[in-house]
Amino acid sequence: MTRPAETDLERLAALRLAAAAVPDPEIPVLTIEDLGILRDVRFAADGQPEVVLTPTYSGCPATEAIRSDVLARTGKLDPQARVVVELAPAWTTDWITDDGRTKLREYGIAPPRPTRTGPVPLQLGRRPEPVVQCPRCGSSDTELVSQFGSTPCKSLRRCRGCAEPFDEFKPL
């Protein structure tokens, strides 16, 4: 049985659907579309389809796992499909979708606050504490334990309300 000829737009849409569903290996409740790292699905200059990804952190090891997962899924539809990684413009946590933020909270990770813009003011101890809600009990009475958590994208906090530790997706 031969498949009916697809239009180019249908080919891209099918590839996008396949790529978009790839989960983040470290936070599997999020897809790469939720994370905002699926930049584009398009035809390259040579006519071959390509999926464009952008990394979260420069050294995030998940980038390579995601890349091979995307290739595995899109390869079933189109063996010619490629994955390219583009750095610019740099990824920001502001690109995480609303849906993604809800999933993070339900998973027990506080979603990222809006990012700081402009140069980072160095205020040391005088900086006002940001309000981060505990994803478990909803209390706003939480404190920073460490800016660096179990993965590059998370910081470690503690809730003074329910006394539980939790991760925050840190604004980048």
């Binding site: 990684v85 413009p89 980072v120 101890g125």
Partner: protein, 261 residues
């Protein structure tokens, strides 16, 4: 460093100068990353183990993109550059290679280097070289967290107990001489500045000094006199400990060429 994440196909520096410049910056990130990774399982608390490993990972990621880019000009991979060069071929600043010392030495080194890298990357965001600009725009956000981390520790140690203050002042006195090399202008960086690729290092110093001084003052630490100013890292001249660092970093790859996991 196993299978490299390739960037845009065909991304290669326009000329040998840009390639050498990218490799310099990549070497800085690679070597400091390795030094920081030596703390893993040895830091004073488990959160700090995670923090230093995370910062090392950020730097390793930056090193990979910079070395892959710089190497593309001469057909060398990031692995070739990291594992198969000799000591004299590494062009990192000596500040990035000096031994970890105690925790205060590591934090002072981190403060001085992160503030420098922050100024440098902010400037490189508007580089005429699109790939360097993209790498810098990404990395500067990571480095702002490194600055914050080091500042917090220097403040806590410097303005802490008498013992922690004295050890942190001693660390500052020991590390400070190596900071001068960050701001040395040579022929390569002059050509980079002329072509709008990167800033003259000397131009970065006032803003760097301001940022560093703010932290040191609040931490009740005294800025050392500018005396001895070791340099030579950019020309492949390194400190005694560097050979040992390379031996550890390169051992596996040289014993088992092409090893993957």
């Amino acid at each position: 460093m196993t299978s490299p994440v390739s960037e845009q196909p065909g991304a290669a520096p326009a000329n040998a100068d840009v390639a050498a410049y990218a490799i310099r910056l990549g070497d800085d990130a690679l070597i400091l990353s390795h030094r920081l990774s030596e703390w893993t399982a040895h830091a004073p608390q488990i959160e700090e183990d995670l923090a230093l490993a995370n910062i090392a990972l950020d730097l390793l990621g930056q090193a990979r993109t910079l070395l892959a880019y710089g190497g593309a000009f001469s057909g060398r991979s990031e692995d070739d550059l990291a594992y198969l060069r000799e000591e004299r071929q590494f062009t990192n600043l000596q500040l990035t290679e000096i031994e970890n010392g105690d925790f205060a030495v590591t934090m002072i080194r981190q403060l001085l280097f992160s503030c420098y890298q922050h100024e440098l990357y902010r400037d490189l965001e508007s580089s005429t070289d699109a790939q360097l600009a993209a790498i810098a725009a990404k990395a500067v956000k990571e480095v702002s967290y490194h600055v914050e981390h080091a500042s917090t520790w220097v403040l806590r140690l410097g303005d802490g107990t008498e013992l922690s203050h004295d050890r942190t002042q001693a660390a500052l006195d020991a590390v400070w001489p190596y900071s001068h090399e960050l701001f040395v202008d040579d022929e390569l960086v002059r050509r980079m500045a002329d072509s709008g690729v990167g800033p003259l290092p000397s131009v970065l110093r006032p803003a760097w000094l301001g940022a560093v001084q703010d932290v040191l003052t609040e931490a009740t630490l005294v800025l050392p006199d500018d005396d001895w100013q070791p340099s030579g890292g950019r020309n492949g001249l390194h400190t005694e400990g560097f050979g040992y660092l390379l031996a550890e970093m390169q051992h596996l790859h040289r014993s088992h060429p092409g090893a993957q996991w």
